[in-house]
């Protein structure tokens, strides 16, 4: 399973890179979203895969139960997801604005605009 997941993560990154290298700004945003998905999975997998129950502390004395899922990567990913959402929302607004002001979605036009 780890190998398969690793390949999927690699694929997600590859998709992200490919989209980031496009000239269209919409694809750029899609690429960034792929990146954040891939990174979340990366952190999750590096914490170790353990199927089953979520990690709950039972009564505080015997907390470390039979389920050894590591809670720390999960906490990190939670933060990452929320931040990623904020970035995506901002980027979408920025893209909307960009198109309104420049009338283009081609990132290469930014370079030409500079020389005008």
């Amino acid at each position: 399973m780890e190998i398969l997941l690793a390949i999927v993560i690699g694929l997600l990154y590859a998709a992200g890179v490919y989209l980031l290298l496009r000239r269209s700004i919409v694809k750029l945003i899609l690429g960034i979203m792929f990146f954040s998905h891939a990174t979340n999975l990366l952190i999750f997998v590096s914490g170790g895969l353990h199927k089953g129950q979520p990690q709950f502390a039972n009564d505080g004395i015997n907390a470390v139960s039979s389920n050894p899922t590591d809670p720390l990567p999960q906490a990190l990913i939670l933060t990452a997801i929320v931040i990623g959402f904020g970035i995506t929302a901002f980027f979408l607004a920025l893209m909307y604005r960009f198109y309104q002001v420049t009338g283009t979605e081609d990132l290469d036009d930014l370079k030409e605009g500079e020389n005008k």
Binding site: M1, L4, A6, V8, G10, L12, Y13, V17, Y18, L20, L21, R22, L30, M33, F34, H37, N40, L41, L42, F44, V45, G47, G48, L49, H50, K51, P54, Q55, F56, A57, D59, G60, A63, V64, T69, D70, P71, L72, P73, I77, L78, I81, V82, I83, F85, G86, A89, F90, L92, A93, L94, Y96, R97, Y99, Q100, E105, D106, L107, D108, K111
Partner: protein, 771 residues
């Protein structure tokens, strides 16, 4: 010695205050500034008795002693000699500038720079640590740059200033490297200690590279061939600057360094040959070009180069007599050349031209200045009874005393001196005596402030020539002794008796007179020859090289800085993945022996969903389909989180994913369809890069599986969730309790993003106009 430090500080403060003083003080201000400099001269002169007994003073403030880096001052015969030169010339030049610079609107800035230079130069001379010296050295280069480019509205002045700066600073950097090497060899950079460790340094295997580096600094500063060309260009500076920096003091800094280090590095065959050959070439070259110029200042510039060459040559020969000759000639040259440069400025000011073909017979309008000039020129020609004669005699004697290459050097020296005699005579008889000639209005008698400097210097030349013994005991002997302690006394007199040297002097003068008589005929020919035949100019070559460098840099920059963001990204991705792949392949065997869990049916299906959605999102032409597929990828990942027990993460992810989809739908309505911008080839290239990155990320995940993230952190949270945070959902407890501050930061980010979104969407703009 603290007194000297205080004087240096006073000089700096004076420099900083001088603009105000010049603006408010009117006519008396330059005199006041000159008094400050003269006070330094008098104060330093007070040390002469003490120093001439063979004493030396040292003063050190420790800075970084581990790197031999200290602020040190050192006063011995040599530095005293130079310090007196700097302060003495400084006070005369300041008075001269007071009148000369009157019409310039930016004169307050000029005085600031001139005093700043004096501070830097005095600091350089008095430095007791090579790093201290280096700092002052660079400061003199910078102030020289600003002074040469003082008439900054003239492109030639800007160009000359830049050229002078680049050459001297490049040399300075090389010199610093040389200093560092010296420090490594001797374990110190304090001059008084270095003077003791000459044997260690001369026998060190790194002696030659260190020597070459230090010489690069000295030669660039002192305008030695092939770096000499910046000095004639620097004549773009106002005349007081030429008189002060580019004849009497700054260009002698290189010579000073050579004198300072000659007990440390001198005396080896390398030293001897490099110095004598460079010095001889510079000497003859300067002489030739001086003879063929028509601009008075250019003539002086080239004779200065020639004189600097002579000095380096003398130090290279390195016999007792040649060192004596060097010190005396240095004084001689500073006196006459400083006077002559001031007179050049004076002529320029009152006649409005420096062209030797257009002016003449000036003694009829400016008798005092002409007399001073004639006395100085006699000194330059090396004729009795001037001190120049003594200097020249000693130089001849020094060349005589050298066994192997002495004869060759003697010929070179005689040739140069013949030229000097001819130039001096030509200037005396054409420029000052003879019929009055001037291009514009009738020249006025120059002001007192302009005359006093040259007159004083010429007077000193004459007095030194008549009574050389006094000066020798008081000033010159201690300076010579600091270069070579074994020289016990210096006997100077005008009359040496009939000997070979006197004979050669006669021959020199006779040949010089002949060359002078030919001057009117030969000079135009040579000028013509220089402009038509000798088209190769080092200054131009330097400029071309500089332009070439700038062009290449520009090309390189426009290649690397393409301005297209995807090329920047591409560079980052390629570099990162190549490095990561290298590391991955290097450590590959560790991955092989890891046990992996078997995938179940659900997981397989979810992975299939993710993979197929990803491919669709990337490849599909429809925007809507791409966005929905991306959503599917997100939900798929959410499902994986559920399977592996990360409930909170899964919920958050799915909520966020839904919100993003909604937002996308809102925005996408206002955006155009996907345009296909790129060619097939570039898509293939991008796909290759993408796979390269994806591949190493896969490897990274596999390697990360082996890592045992520090379990103690997690264990702490698990054990203390209930006792400390009173919650059983550990992930939640971490976020809102243990790491609450992080979560606060996260919320802040969200708020900022939300404000940004609102601002971007609400702002009303007209289409096409930037907001």
């Amino acid at each position: 010695m603290t007194g000297i430090l205080i004087y240096l500080i006073i000089l700096l403060i004076t420099a900083l205050l001088s603009p105000i003083l010049i603006r408010k003080g009117g006519k008396t201000a330059p005199w006041l500034l000159s008094m400050v400099s003269a006070a330094g001269f008098a104060y330093l002169l007070g040390f002469a008795g003490f120093i001439s007994k063979g004493n030396a003073l040292n003063y050190t403030i420790e800075w970084l002693p581990e790197l031999y880096l200290n602020f040190s001052l050192y006063l011995d015969g040599l530095s005293l000699f130079f310090a007196l030169l700097v302060t003495g010339m400084g006070s005369l030049v300041l008075v001269f500038s007071g009148n000369y610079m009157k019409p310039y609107p930016m004169k307050h800035r000029f005085f600031f720079l001139l005093l700043l230079f004096e501070f830097a130069m005095l600091g350089l001379i008095l430095s007791g640590n090579l790093f201290t010296m280096f700092i002052f050295w660079e400061l003199t280069s910078v102030s020289s740059f600003l002074l040469v480019g003082f008439n900054h509205e003239k492109p030639e002045a800007r160009n000359a200033a830049l050229q002078a700066l680049l050459i001297t600073v490049a040399g300075g950097l090389a010199m610093m490297a040389g200093f560092i090497m010296l420090g490594q060899m001797a374990g110190t950079l304090e001059i008084n200690q270095l003077l003791q460790s000459g044997d260690i340094i001369r026998n060190h295997p790194h002696y030659l590279p260190a020597l070459l580096l230090v010489l690069a600094g000295a030669f660039t500063k002192s305008a030695q061939f092939p770096f000499h060309f910046w000095l004639p260009g620097a004549m773009q500076a106002p005349s007081p600057v030429s008189a002060y920096l580019h004849s009497a003091t700054m260009v002698k800094a290189g010579v000073y360094l050579l004198m300072r280090l000659s007990p440390v590095m001198g005396g080896t065959p390398e030293w001897k040959y490099i110095l004598t050959i460079t010095g001889a070439i510079t000497m003859i070259l300067g002489g030739y070009f001086a003879y063929s110029q028509t601009d008075f200042k250019k003539v002086l510039a080239y004779t200065t180069i020639s004189a600097l060459g002579t000095l380096v040559l003398m130090l290279g020969i390195g016999t007792d007599i040649s060192i004596k000759a060097a010190i005396i000639f240095l004084l001689v040259h500073a006196l006459y050349k400083g006077a002559l440069f001031m007179i050049a400025g004076l002529i320029d000011k009152s006649v409005g031209s420096r062209d030797l073909r257009k002016i003449g017979g000036l003694s009829k309008v400016m008798p005092t200045a002409s007399l001073a000039a004639i006395i100085s020129l006699i000194s330059m020609a090396g004729l009795p009874p001037m001190i120049g004669f003594i200097g020249k005699e000693l130089i001849y004697e020094a060349k005589f005393a050298l066994p192997d290459i002495g004869n060759l050097l003697l010929v070179a020296g005689v040739t140069t001196n013949v030229i000097m005699v001819a130039i001096s005579l030509a200037l005396i008889f054409n420029l000052f005596l003879g019929p009055l000639k001037y291009p514009g209005e009738k020249p006025k008698r120059p002001a007192f402030a302009l005359r006093i400097g040259p007159a004083l210097l010429a007077g000193i030349s004459l007095i030194f020539g008549l009574f050389p013994a006094r000066v020798a005991d008081f000033l010159l002997s201690p300076a010579i002794k600091s270069i070579r302690p074994s020289i016990d006394s210096l006997k100077l007199s005008l009359w040496h008796g009939f000997n070979e040297v006197l004979l050669i002097s006669f021959i020199t003068v006779a040949a010089g007179v002949v060359l002078f008589l030919l001057y009117r005929k030969v000079n135009p020919l040579l000028t013509h020859f220089n402009t038509k035949v000798l088209t190769f100019r080092l200054a131009d070559t330097f400029n071309n090289g500089l332009n070439m460098f700038l062009y290449l840099t520009k090309r390189k920059t426009s290649f690397i800085q393409s301005g297209y963001q995807r090329f920047y990204l591409m560079a980052i991705f390629i570099m990162t993945s190549v490095l990561a792949w290298y590391q991955l392949i290097y450590t590959w065997p560790e991955i092989e022996n890891i046990s992996f869990s078997k995938p179940g049916f659900f997981e397989m299906m979810i992975l299939l969903l993710i993979v197929s959605s990803t491919l669709i999102a990337v490849l599909v032409r429809s925007r809507l389909a791409a966005i929905l597929s991306l959503g599917a990828v997100g939900y798929g990942i959410g499902l994986l989180f559920i399977i592996y027990g990360a409930i909170d993460v899964a919920i958050t992810l799915m909520l966020a994913e839904t919100l993003v989809l909604v937002l996308f739908m809102v925005v996408i309505y206002h955006l155009p369809k996907f345009a296909n911008f790129s060619s097939k080839a570039s898509r293939l290239r991008d796909a290759a890069i993408a796979l390269l990155v994806g591949g190493f990320m896969t490897g990274l995940v596999l390697k990360a599986g082996q890592l045992n993230l520090n379990p103690k952190i997690s264990d702490f949270y698990v054990e203390n969730a209930i006792p400390l945070a009173h919650g059983s959902n550990i992930v939640n407890v971490i976020l809102v309790d243990f790491r609450a501050l992080d979560t606060l930061g996260e919320i802040t980010v969200l708020v900022i993003a939300a404000i940004g979104v609102v601002a971007l969407l609400k702002l009303k703009t007209k289409k096409g106009s930037a907001t």
